[in-house]
Structure formats: C-alpha cells, structure tokens
Amino acid sequence: MDVLDLARTQFAVTGSLHFLFVVLTLGLAPLIAITHTRHAVTGRPEHERATRFWGQIYVTNYALGIFTGLVMEFQFGLSWSGLSEYAGDVFGAPLAIETLGAFFLESTFLGLWIFGWNRLNRWVHLACIWMVTLTAYASAFWIMAANSFLQNPAGAVERGGRLVLTDFGALLGNPALVNSLPHVVGAGLWAAGFLVMGASAYQLFRRTTEREFFTSSLRTGLLVAFAGSLVTVGFGYAQFGTLALYQPDKFGSPLAGTALGIMIIVGQLVQLLLLLLAPLAYWLPRWRWAQPFLMILTPLPFLLAICGWLAREVGRQPWLINGRLTVADAMSPGLTSGMVTVSLVGFTGVLGLLALADYLLIARAVRRGPTAVALGAEDEPAPAVREPALSH
C-alpha cells in the first residue's frame, strides 16, 4: 500500500470504529432521557433501576465514542492538512461549532449526570440528561453538515485557489444533508432498539429473576427498532432523488456498489421481519424459541451502518471534496508511509483493543442485570483526615 492508501485506511478504520459507538449513543440517549423522565415524574423504583441499568450500558459505550472521536478530530490536521489549507474557511466552521456549541456542553453535562446521582436536585439531574441528548443530536447535525459539504460543496466559491464561505444557509440546506441526517438518526434508534431487544432476550432466555423488567424492555426495544427502521429506510431511499443532482455515478465502483447492495438487501429483510414482529410485541417476550434468534440479530444494524458509511465515502472517490479537491491533493505534503504506518498501528491497535474490551464490559453489564449497577450507586465515604504524625 502506498502512503495515500495507508492514510485512507487509517481514516476508514478509525471512522468506522467511531461510528459503531456513536450510532448507539445517538439511539440510546433519548431512551435513557425518557426513562429518567418517567423516574423523575413518578418516583417509581422500577424506572430508576431501568435508568441506571441502561444508563450504565450507555456510558460504557460512550467512552469509546470519546476515544475514537479524539483521533478523528486530530486526524484532519495530521494526515489531511491540504483539506484545511484549501477548504478550512468553510469546512472548519461546522466542525468548530460542533466542538464548541455541542460537544463542549455534552461532555460537561454528561459529567454532571454521571456523578450527580444522589447529589443533584431531581429535576436538575433530569435536565442534565436532556442536555446531553440535545447536544448529542446537535453534534450529529453539525458533523453531518460538514460531511455533506464534502459530498456536495454548497455555499462556497473558489477565490484565489481556496474555498470561501458565501452562503451559510446553503451549507445548512445542502441537499446532501436534508435526507442523510434523519437517515443517521433513524439508524441510531434502530441500533439502540436492537441492543435493548437483544439484551432483554438474553436475560429472558437465561430465565432471569427480572422477568417483568426485561419483558417490558424487549417490547420497547422492538418498537423503537421498528420505528427507527421506518425512518432509516424511508430517508435512505429519499437520498437517491437528490443524489442525481450532485453525484450521479456514486455507486459505480465495486466496493461502494457492494456496500450499498448489502445495506439495502439486508436492511429490507430485517425491516420486513420487524414489520411482522411489531404487532406481536405483546407476546414475543414469552416465546422462548425466538429469544436466541433476537440475540444474534443485535449486531446487524451496526454492520449495516458501516456499509452505509462505506457507500457514502467510497462512492465519492477520488474526491475528498466532490469535484473540487482530490484525496491525493488533500493529503499532508511530505507525509511518509513510515509515519502513517506507525500511527495506524498505534491507533488501530489501541482503539481496537479498547473497543473489544468495551464490548466485553457492555456484555458483562447486560449479564449482571439491574441488581448490580455502578452508575448511580451510593457514594463511598471519604477517607479520614490523616493525622499529621502519621503522614510522611
């Protein structure tokens, strides 16, 4: 592989890892916020247990979203400095707004939510998770706006060899954005629904003592996944209409075409299945034979989400900014195979191992069930003041 292939591989691997975790964050956040709201309003203990149990899975997943996200943010400058050189005045704006106006708040409020159990006022604590949810969706909006600019550089003109922002409204009203954003949001709900459904099926199959808890969550997971699939598929097909305007030959290459084909065929089959299962939501948790089947379905929306990104990104080759800047021209001048190889091994090695560990920790949280949850547990007593004579 030459240096360009290596740099692209690095972006593809870290980007795919990032989205595996982000897609679940996006889908779970509103479910946790709604469950927390039911807890705050009714004060009933089962809602508190549900908030803490699914919340622990949510924050464990969130950690990897942060780690991979850090590499994503800095990778632009490391490997693709030609992008900021040529289009930073336009492309940088949505990214800067995402970090300052969305992620800065999301991270601060997430800290308040995680550590604020048993110390914040009930309504204030609830407001924190809603702020986390709101800013997570704001993040998704700005990142998709930035990505859509790469698909279709709307709102900018070239002046003196660089792109200049001329119409911010056009950047936000980009036809590459209007249908892809709800497509991604739907995929998040679909993934979160499948995780909740699969985890509940696992617990029921093991003849859990928490029958009521997981019967109810299995139904919720199924219905959320079904709703998510309607949004995802609907806005997936809707993208073809506008795509003809800016990338008519998008799926000509074998990889982009295959990724698109898998996404459509498998996605449609799973959606058909959800259509059949949704009316049976009340009875489904009792059917023991169905539980292993629901468990093994869990990874599907995640794999389809990766196919979606492959289709969207590979289909634009050789352009980084469609029709304006090629990936070859965007690569940092002077970047060597040695540099990228070392960082590629470092990033994918560390992030890959941490991702694996994180999935095992999520699986463990699912297996232990709602009785042993660290999130929101009683605080530990602070240690005693050390006697000066005993300190060294």
Binding site: T60, A63, F67, L70, V71, E73, F76, G77, L78, S79, W80, S81, L83, S84, E85, A87, G88, D89, G92, A93, L95, A96, I97, E98, T99, L100, F103, F104, L105, S107, T108, F109, G111, L112, I114, F115, G116, L120, V164, L165, F168, G334, L335, M339, V342, S343, F347, V350, A357, L361, R364, A374, A377, D379, E380, P381, A382, P383, R386, S391
Partner: protein, 255 residues
C-alpha cells in the same frame, strides 16, 4: 473579529492547562499519593467529576483552530506529527484507565488500569512539554532536544504541583496530609497555564495573519457567542456540585 477569536483560542488553551492540568498532575502522582488501592480510589474519585468538563477544553481548542485558523491547524498538527500521535495515545490510555478501572471486580484489573492512568498522564505531560517547546521555537524542522527536554520537565513539574494542590484543596488532610486554600489552587493553576502562555504569545502574530476570513468568523461568532453563558454556567455548576464543601463527606464512585 480575528482578535476576538485569538482571545477565544488563548482562553481555551490556558483554561485547558489550568483545569485539565490538575487531572494530569494527579494521574502522574497516583502511585505516590495512593500507596494502597483504597488511597488510589480516593485520588481518582477526587478528580473524576471534573475530568469530562476539563479535557473537553482541548477538544474545543482543536475545533477553534480548525474553524478560525484553518491554515495554522494543518501546519501545526502535521508539523508536530509524532508528538501529536503520542499525545493522543497517552490521552486515550489515561481516559481508558479512568472509564474502565471500576468496570470489573478484582484488584489486578483495577491496579493495571491505575498504571494506565499514571503512564498516560506522564505521556500527556511530557508530550505537551515537547509540543510547547517546539511551538515556542517557531516550529523548526528539528527543534532543540535539550530545550524540549527541559520544557517537558518544567511542564510535568507544574502539572504535578497543580494536581497536588487540587487534592489538598478538595480533600484537605485526606490525600496529601495537607490542606490548601482556594488562593493556592488559583496560584498553581497559573503555574500550570504559564508554560502554555509563552508559546501562544510566540504563535499569536502568525495566527492573526492566517485567521479565517470575516464571513467565516462572523458565522462562528453568531452561533457560539449566544451559547457562552450556558457553557460557562455548566462549568461553574460542576465546581459548585463537586467542590470541597460537598466532597468532604462522601465521594462519587463511578470512575
């Protein structure tokens, strides 16, 4: 407008060192301040509620660099390639230690992640020292290794002092055996931020020359400035919620 965004960038970078500085410092001191597992749990619990609110200042620095000074972003990050990669891997290692250490029972698991926190924190402090020294020298092809080493030691020392002071302020007598006032914490925050202020001053004229055009900065200002009260409010609120008055009795135990 470009001066305003230079101010934002400076505030975020200085704020990062003043705030995240004590997390990094405590991570470096973890084996010293926490001889037993229980003591290490206390040190981590002390910084835990602040880490997410602190480290995000650097995410914001990179965002502002990209949005308001895009040409500088590419050149600085690419120019410091191996150091930035080291910084990122150290940061991830430190964060993984915090997030994972309590997710499994067993002393070996937790002790191993405590070492990840310590090593990651040293990696952060030392790579920051080398990065700041290289920027202060004007990003030459091969910056002086002696200056870099010296600066790395200074940065690591300042962050360790800041971490020690923070623990003595939040939990007087319980971690370091001493107590420190808010004034002392402010002084150590300044000591932690000072090594970043010098290279920033060197970089300032270059940043101003390469600021994004007025149209881009106008859009950024229009969207971000109305949000600053919420951003500042959430930060202040974190300190009110987890400050020394509330920390004395009980400590949160998620990290």
């Amino acid at each position: 407008m470009d001066v305003l965004w230079l101010g934002v960038l400076a505030l975020l970078l200085v704020g990062y060192f003043a705030l995240e500085g004590f997390d990094i410092g405590l991570g470096m001191l973890l084996p010293v301040l926490g001889r037993t597992q229980r003591d290490r749990d206390t040190v981590v619990s002390a910084m835990a509620p602040f880490v997410l609110a602190n480290e995000v200042w650097l995410v914001a620095v990179a965002g502002v660099l990209f949005g308001a000074f895009p040409e500088v972003e590419g050149r600085v990050l690419y120019g410091l390639y191996p150091l930035v990669v080291t910084l990122l891997i150290s940061w991830i290692l430190r964060d993984a230690g915090l997030w994972f250490r309590r997710r499994l029972d067993g002393t070996g698991w937790r002790a191993a992640w405590d070492w990840a926190i310590c090593i990651g924190s040293y990696g952060l402090a030392l790579s920051w020292g080398l990065i700041l020294a290289a920027i202060a020298q004007g990003l030459p092809e091969s910056p002086s290794p002696l200056a870099g080493f010296g600066y790395a030691v200074v940065v690591a020392g300042a962050l360790a002092l800041h971490g020690w002071t923070f623990a003595s302020w939040l939990l007087p007598g319980r971690v370091t055996g001493r107590g420190r006032t808010g004034g002392a914490l402010l002084a150590s925050a300044c000591a932690a931020a000072l090594p970043a202020a010098v290279p920033l001053a060197v970089l300032a004229p270059w940043l101003l020359e390469h600021a994004a055009p007025g149209g881009t900065l106008g859009v950024l200002s229009l969207i971000i400035l109305p949000l600053t009260p919420v951003m500042a409010g959430a930060q202040v609120w974190t300190w009110r919620t987890f400050g020394p008055r509330r920390a004395a009795g009980r400590l949160p135990s998620f990290f």
